[in-house]
Amino acid sequence: MEFSGAVDIPATRDRVFAFVTDPEEVGACGPGVESIEVIDATHFRAKAKVGVGFIQARFVVDLEIAEQQAPDMAVIKAHGQAPGSAVDAVGRMTLVDGPEPGTTTMQWSAEVSLSGMLASVGARMVEGTANKMIGQTFDCVRAKIAAEG
């Protein structure tokens, strides 16, 4: 599954870049994240309860900032597992100056692979759900940064 989009954020590229590469900050925006454990500067592990409605699975997700060029670009790889299911994703973010001075446009794309029971049994809900969760994640990023003023 491939998804992409763009979001305008009322902050500088430096600030946005710092936010999205800081596990503690960006982690809280991940869907259903319950805890974040920072392993090193580019590796962290999240525990997240994700799903749709009351259909939820507890995933352990290993995240890695696989590439970064401050303050323009970052690639994050995720590898998550729940009993019987697994998810692998690569998210790419490119930051460019936004329409207003001092704002940033984040262009993003994500490739998501779902394996196991959820993919077999939940196929008719997976794509819509993944799309929504990604959208919520970026909305959250914008909202949090915007809230800093």
Binding site: V60, H79, Q81, P83, G84, S85, A86, D88, S113, L114, S115, G116, M117, A119, S120, V121, A123
Partner: protein
Amino acid sequence: MTTELEPRTSAAIGGMGHSVKRKEDPRFIRGAGEYIEDVVLPGMLWMDIVRSPYAHATIKSIDASEALKVPGVLAVITGADLEKAGLHWMPTLAGDKQMVLPTTTVMYQAQEVAAVVATDRYAAADGVAAVYVDYEPLPVIVDPKKALEPGAFVLRPDRGPDKANNHIWHWESGDRAAADAALASAEVRVSEDIYIPRIHVASIETCGCVADWDAVRGQLTLHMTSQAPHAIRTVLALVSGLPEQNIRVKTHDIGGGFGGKVPVYPGYVLAVVASLTVGKPVKWIEDRSENLQADSFARDYHIHAEMSATKAGKITGLKVKTIADHGYSDAAADPSKFPAGLFNVITGSYDFPDAFVEVDGVYTNKPPGGVAYRCSFRVTEAVHAIERMVDILAHEIGVDPAQLRMENFIQPEQFPYRTPTGWEYDSGNYGVALQKAMDLIGYDDLRKEQAEKRARGELMGIGISSFTEIVGAGPSKDFDIIGIKMFDSCEIRVHPTGKVIARIGVQSQGQGHETTFAQIIAEELGFPVGDVKIEYGDTDTAPYGLGTYASRSTPVAGAATAMASRKIREKARQIAAHLLECSPDDLEWEPGKFTVKGSPDRFKTIQEISFAAYTNHPVGMEAGLEAVDYYDPPNLTFPFGSYICVVDIDKGTGQVKIRRFVAVDDCGNIINPMIVDGQIHGGLTMGFAPALLESITYDELGNNQAGTFMDYLLPTAVETPRWELDKTVTPSPHHPIGAKGVGESATVGAPPAIANAVVDALWHLGVRNIDIPMTPQKVWAILHEKGLA
């Protein structure tokens, strides 16, 4: 000749030709059958299996610590544990090998990764959820054509550097040059790509076992769902090193098999290892998703067929090239010499001067494939291809498909008939069967109706399938499974009071062996069928046999039963002569008694003779009345039939509705007409299902898209057509009772009749082929493309 067989025995005896009510039914209708899940042993533990979400991945680590904290969990078994004992690999029936548990890499979604042993099934399931396996995904290959491309990821490096690709084997039959020549000089050539997708037998009972290791006695008893318990015992002995006499395989009642219970699955081996490890009986029962996702599959054949003919419609040649997707391991139950089964029966019911067929087996990231769906030896694939091709040719040259078949059938006087791919058909009368089906359904009127409807823009189609089956594997000169020859056996013991117990090497999964085998003995010896008890499925007591699949019970073990009966009859003749004080040659046999020729009041009943065998046998003769026979058939048997199907297509939705379906079958002499009809009803339904409903598909990551009965669509009573049956009877000349086997005929014959009907409804729009299953969305897409929907 094709005549109905009149029973030779009275209804009280109940020999061949009587619709004797089944002896096994009283327990089933009371819920008193004993299926594997009903087996409970003292101290029994439960095993459940951790399975891979990935279709291809490296296992970085397995952390069982949390699982071992779950109350009730006693042990977690991993591939590393098995490796220490050399048990992490096992052989498949096709001579390939398969992991029991992986040590480094998983090869298909839902592959077994670890086993959890616990005090009950709920704790075991909790344990499974608590095992954490760290995977690193690898590239997935689901398309066998991509698997064959140069540079494709090599899935089985364990096969050695000289096999550094995903090609398993090449197999061919017939004369390539002759077939090429026939095609090159043909007036008419037709060719088509036909794909027959993966399907799953999905017997309503899943697989399972209870492994019971008795350390004190050094005895392993394996209660299991198996169609071939003796072969399993031998494989277990070879793999485990346990002495074969200390292994007992016991099958109990089996809730449907259809071939899916022939292979050895890792779960069985794991339960044995678990019982050996913990010293208690261990039960493992698959759930439905495990069954649909991980057990062996049928079909998955990518066929390219070319056929040549004269303009007048005389067929001249056939050439077929096929890619066989076996998943990550070749787990077919085919005889060693036949890696593509009996696929070279593909010339079907037609008199082909020349034919050539080749098949290449390929590895992909799917569960091991190549077993059965009510037909294990690739006959369904062959019949589908040839019956589709004959129809395409008929439409192409504008000859009615029934007429084209009639003009190209092997004629009755040509039997025994040798095919260009090497088979010798025993007997057949194809034209009579087709004509009977045409008369029954009112073929000519249907063609008129179709023409009228087509003029009004309505879509109606008529499809024929005139199949030839090949069953009864098999003659030991050619047929073996992992080296064991494919004979089968029967042992009969007549007790002094004239009651009989017989044990057979085959295994019922619903076919009614307890009744039909008793009828064979009733036919041959005249004991009333109610006095004959049939046993099977316990390797400690039954004689060795290869089991029940490929419609082989009647052709092979049925013959053994008749031959063992005849041995007993000969001894009985000696005893009767002794009792009647005459020469054995002066005695006449009729079912149930020997009579002195010309003296109808001087006779001895088989019951009297039985008693004498233990109380008053001739001096110098061994006491008792017993015989055993291991039957090695001289040839296979070739049942056949003609099916005609009428469909109406809903242009709005693409839904295909089967309006009528007539099936005329010929399986030679019939033991129990009621049971034969039941087999045909079931077989037709398992032919209908993959034609319109069932298939297992995978996404590009190798996720099984039909992992529950919510998406793997077994037909209900609502969709299933109302089958109309009739018969012709052409006995097998070489089988002792002239029978041929019928369990799979209808599954083999039905799909092309349905496919031909659907294509027939759409041919005028330019449609040549639709691969099964012909789902509404597939049919709609065609109608849409043609501007009709």
